[in-house]
Amino acid sequence: MSTTAAPASTFLFEDKKFPFCPGCGHTVSANALNKALVTLQIDPKQTVIVTDIGCVGLTDHYFNINAFHGLHGRSITYATGIKLANPELNVIVLMGDGGLGIGGGHFLNAARRNIGITVLVFNNFNYGMTGGQHSTTTPMHGITSTTPEGNDENPVDICALVGAVNGSFAARTTVYDKDLTDIMIAAIQHKGFAAVDIWEPCTAYFSKKNDMNKDGILGMMSSLGYGKGILLNKSREELTEKIKKHTAEQMAIVIPKQKEQKHFQHNLKKKTSLVIAGSAGERVISSSFLLAYSGIISGLFVTQKDDFPITVMTGYSVSEIIFSDEEILYTEIDKPDYMFILSMNGYERVKNRINANTIIITDESLNMNELLKEKVDAKNIINVPIVKEARAIDKNYAVMIGLSAFLHHSKLYSHDAFVEAINTKNKPAFIEKSLQAIEVGAQMIKNLVNS
């Protein structure tokens, strides 16, 4: 891995000594990591050690390697960001069992997505930095400052977590095992997410209170029935490799140059607002967009906003459009000039805004004359057989018929602008029927005028 000429004999600063308590496992694990890095002859410029909070978080200061010291339990997120951004780097996370607990979601997700980082958990079964409180790996009955009568909770099995999300590499060892360095080497060399659960004594707290010396730790492992050594080692494609391929494919896509957009004249005399009230699945929003866009290419200022419940496939679907020949500052429609009502769902949502001057375009089957007789003069209600006519094309085009009826009634701009919007902005499969629908809508208004 190295590009330097002289092989490095250590990556530790020669003038610094690890600050851990006498007998602390962290010193053993950190020295083993140094040995692993020397064996691998890593390039320190191409390597980042990521730590978080806890005694283990002091470790990165002692390595003459790029370092990132972050927030408690979040080291895996920074490491993931670093690896995603520069997949060439060796990214090694050093965290404690405390960080594993608070950042457990990140651990699971990193293992699941198989991001190529190495996570070394310096696991000493309690929080050594804050006074020996219990952690998620404290064994059942373990005595800590916050479990003075013994821990009532089951400990987490770190390696099993990796397996549970179909992760690719998990190993368990202790600071008493000769293979500590070799396992670290295997983890660092693994292409994909690799976790090592390293069991250590915390001489300040946990070991003292629980008689957790070498025999205690090894005995606990066998009594829990946990395996030791490399427990999981699968070959699975690493995430950044997949992303690299995806990016290359996406970059190769040549975006076709947009056709020159035709532009049209408008006849707008005053600012005009339209509320379209229908139901989910009627293509209210996408159809309204085409109408609004046709206003844009007619030289108007237009705003469009939509309203729908979070359960998008059910209930009302409302779109609000304002057309103006000057900049639209206030985008609420308190008093709609026009309302196109296609369903009772939509009507219920917008009915409070209907006023005496609102022109209602609606389907004849909804019986709006009766519903609105107190509010709106019958001459302002335009009943047209939208749903019936739509069936002849496709029921999904009812909104397009109604929008065309609006355009031909308001005469804000030309039918051709609407045609152009459909031809340039609609999905190709929808164009033909959309064009049919707006012809139907136009004809409805002509028929009304003629009658």
Binding site: V48, I65, I82, A85, H106, H246, Y293, I296, L329
Partner: protein, 372 residues
Amino acid sequence: MNIDFLDGNEMVALGAFEAGCNFFAGYPITPASAILQQMIDDLPKHGGTAIQAEDEIASIGFCIGAAMTGKKVLTATSGPGLSLYSENIGMAIMGETPMVIVDVQRHGPATGSATKDGASDIQFARWSTSGGYPIIALVPTCVEECYTMAIQAFNYAEQFRTPVFLLSSKEIAMTRERVDWSKIKKPEIVNRTYHKPEDGKYIPYRFVNSEDIPPFAAYGGEELTRYTTSTHDENANLLADPAKIQRMMDHLNKKIDADKVSLVVKDFEEGAETLVVSYGVTSRTAREAIKMARANNVKVSSLVIHSVWPVPEKEIKNALKGMKKVVVPEMNAGQYIYEVQRLIDNNAQLIGVNTMDTKLINPEKIYQAIVG
């Protein structure tokens, strides 16, 4: 003619692409999800990486890690997500991380009304993390400004090595408007200052004067570098010496200078004794009210604040000169009004126009405050 019909979220994404954004991480949240979607769809086409994280804590964590490899990073969320960003915003400040955080504000607190508008996070953005160190926040008033301010936000992030907020809101983010590209004045792109080999050994947090910005070196480059969330010396080592700690903290406090980050739009009327101070989408309603007032021969001046943090105090003080009435409309219970209040040095009457009903403030309400 180069005309589009786009919403604010789309324009934030386009602004980010233009600024050279090459890393995005986010988590779905209304009304910001469309930015995540567009980044997933389009950032790889620009050679960048976009990813959906498991939660907001991971989103911003990914971004901070990526930023330190030299990427120009963006994340987008709304109020509840910003709550989860809080701790990492503090770290981004402490570690001097260039990054842009889009907060598409919605009606809060807590889950509030997910799909409704409100200027819920104006003070939250300022004080979102422990320590109270300065941040930069830009607030667009329209769709076109979502584009220009996204670029500006990246520029400031790069210039000052700090998280920069773009405080959009549901109404701007999810309302489509006419976009006339021929009229958009695109800010020139600014990139962070990198350490140069001729400057000697790289020291990650080195500054001479408090306000200086330490040059940057990326992970994977020619220099070894260190990043830290803790109180640190220039080499990123833990600090215990009070004098040195004070110096480092003074640096974080002074490096963001309101004189260098001051974006306002002034519309002063000769002889006016009433001033409207506004920001965000409410500025538009305020302009509508001001038009009504002027049409009725009421003289009124307007100050629209684009850079709400740091407070552009000089501009506000200048606008306040000789005013007898100051109107501050806000879609919250009154958050920025106190920043204006502390700058009033006469007995001018201060009126807040506040709504929290999820609707835009009706221009009539602001008009009444102006003429009343």
